[in-house]
Amino acid sequence: MAETILEVTDLKTQFYTERGVVRAVDGVSFDVKQGEIVGLVGESGAGKSVTTSSVLRLIEEPGEVVGGEVDYMGRTIVGFEDTGEELVPRDEMLSETQMRDRIRGNEIAIIFQDPMESLNPVYTVGGQVKEFIELNRDISGKEAKAEAIEMLRRVGIPEAAERYGDYPHEFSGGMRQRVLIAMALGCRPNLIIADEPTTALDVTVEGQILELVNDLQEEFGTSFIWVTHDMGVVAEICDRVNVMYLGQIVEQGPVDEIFHDTQHPYTKALLNSIPRPDRTVGDLEPIEGTMPSARSPPSGCRFHPRCPDAREPCKEAEPVFQQVSETSDGTAHRASCLKHEDVGYWEADALEVEVEK
């Protein structure tokens, strides 16, 4: 089995706002292995982007990573120790300068959601790709420029050398997304975090980009964390999936398992809310209601107010995130649902689903 390069354990990130503490990420654990694409799925506000930002330590005031471990190939990105009174960062935790010079860009790169806003409008596209390559790799300016053109060509920009001097507004959305991928890949990182990179694109362009990423991923062997809210995209490119709800991972497993042996009602609801070619349904079933505020999450299972399968114990008992089924290759399939626990779920009465329409 491939080596694990990133291991996130019980990560907690909070935002201290005037209206209270927002637990945006509340005990998230997952890992990424060499050469694999890991999905991070969930509704808006589930904490996906905060999770990825925490991994790169890009959380800004009033937010703060308050607990958990992030380990990247033996280097401690986030690590705390208990002094008895409070959690303090451990000594071996990388400093801000080390993060900037050794991790961000050259080890872990990030691709943002909006290709329209991720390029600086006052510089040429080529210049920006070159800047990032130069910054993160030990090569001269001339080489960096050649490399930038080569990367632009690789991601499918026609006449890359001629378009090197064009400005971002002269590129279409799909082309800009390709440029962002070229920027990230050009730095030769080990892991790329793609934060909903295809959300702003139309479906045909999305398809092309996904195909491109699949090809490039095979070629460069880069690992990906693919953040999305689109189960279709997950099915398309991910090897393993983490489903997030309200700051927690509720189900985790290989992509086939998630789709065909769904263990958590939320995942099921997500899947039911999109059309699928392998199933014929009369109507799509959107998930009722909206996600509650992370400022005061519901008691018990966080999904219970919206869960179609909710029963009495769900209101009180907090489900444990645990292995729920065996998979063929031994990869864990975990979920947090009381159905898999011995707390009297099956004997209890169903809860009225209390959502405002």
């Binding site: 005031e61 993160n136 300016g141």
Partner: protein
């Protein structure tokens, strides 16, 4: 990698013209818009003419190339402004002469002379130098200081922002003229000179620029490309210099153009009050100061420098307005 290295390498790789920040494309676009705007174009011409006069008088203090006939005799240096034949004794009596179209005037001094018999055209032309450069230099000082303070303040936020902005607001609360006078008197130790006025006005205008650029930086720093730069390991200083400031600069540039007019006016006011240019340096404000005593007998003495100030400021304002329209993408 050091910034210096990056810069030099950028220059080498400039053959495609596409490396890094290439303002030409943006400028070309802006200029073409200004070309189509008659008032902005007019403003630009006025600035160009006034600027040319200022430059020529600085390079060639003899003035012989741009004045006519015998006037050059009076213009050699500021201390020798007297007509050698007509007024052999400078200190003797009244030397004022009205413009040529008023009774008592002569074409020898088309706009007349001042109380010391110095040719008014020469004085006006020389005065351009002071007003023009003072306007630009003082505004540039304010722009530089304001940009740095505002950008740092907006980008870092938190206590940095609090400290800097409170300081700037304190400065902002004092009327600029009072601030500059106090500064000039304090720094010069009772011996006012135009150079102190320039610094004073520059400092007095820091708040205007700082507040404007800060408000822009607050929105620009949230842009994904700034986040992307941070996530790729670019240093804060480089993010500010390369990504945040260039994208926040357009409105500041417009303000600077308009502010030059205000600066010229303020410096003229300072000279009028005696805290700016000192005699015998020819300066429009200083000319106004002398001439206001003769308002009734020869109002033209006040009108000429007033007109000069008016035209120059109008030039900068028209151009500034045009620039604002040209830089605003919503106005086609």
């Amino acid at each position: 990698m050091a910034i210096g290295e990056q810069q030099t390498q950028k220059d080498e790789g400039g053959d495609s013209g596409g490396d890094g920040f290439d303002p030409n494309v943006g400028w070309r676009h802006t200029l073409s818009k200004i070309k189509g705007d008659a008032t902005a174009r007019f403003g630009l011409y006025v600035i160009a003419i006034v600027g040319a006069v200022a430059v020529v008088t600085t390079i060639d203090a003899n003035l012989s190339t741009i004045t006519f006939g015998r006037v050059d005799n009076f213009a050699l240096a500021e201390s020798v402004w007297y007509h050698p034949e007509r007024h052999p004794d400078p200190g003797a009596t009244e030397r004022r002469m009205p413009p040529f179209f008023v009774e008592g005037g002569s074409l020898e001094h088309p706009l007349g002379t001042d109380r010391n018999g110095r040719d008014y055209i020469s004085r006006l032309v020389y005065g351009t130098r002071v007003s023009f450069f003072v306007g630009i230099v003082a505004t540039a000082l304010g722009l530089l200081g304001g940009t740095i303070i505002g950008a740092v303040s907006g980008y870092y936020g938190g206590w940095v922002d609090d400290v800097l902005m409170r300081a700037v607001e304190t400065l902002y609360a004092i009327p600029p003229l009072v601030l500059v006078i106090v500064f000039t008197v304090f720094v010069s130790g009772g011996d006012p000179d135009i150079i102190y006025a320039v610094f004073g006005v520059g400092i007095a205008f820091i708040p205007v620029f700082a507040r404007l650029i800060r408000s822009r930086v607050l929105s620009v720093r949230e842009m994904d490309y700034v986040e992307a730069a941070r996530a790729t390991g670019v240093k804060d200083r480089d993010i500010l210099r390369r990504h945040v400031i260039p994208n926040s600069f357009a409105p500041v540039l417009v303000l600077a153009t308009l502010q030059i007019g205000v600066t010229i006016l303020i410096v003229a006011g300072l000279s009028f009050l005696g805290y700016g240019a000192q005699p015998p340096t020819p300066d429009w404000g200083e000319m106004l100061r002398i001439s206001h005593q003769y308002m009734h007998s020869n109002p033209w003495m006040s009108i000429w420098p007033g007109l000069a100030i008016l035209i120059t400021i109008m030039g900068f304002n028209l151009f500034g307005d045009g620039l604002q329209d040209a830089l605003d993408p919503r106005i086609k």
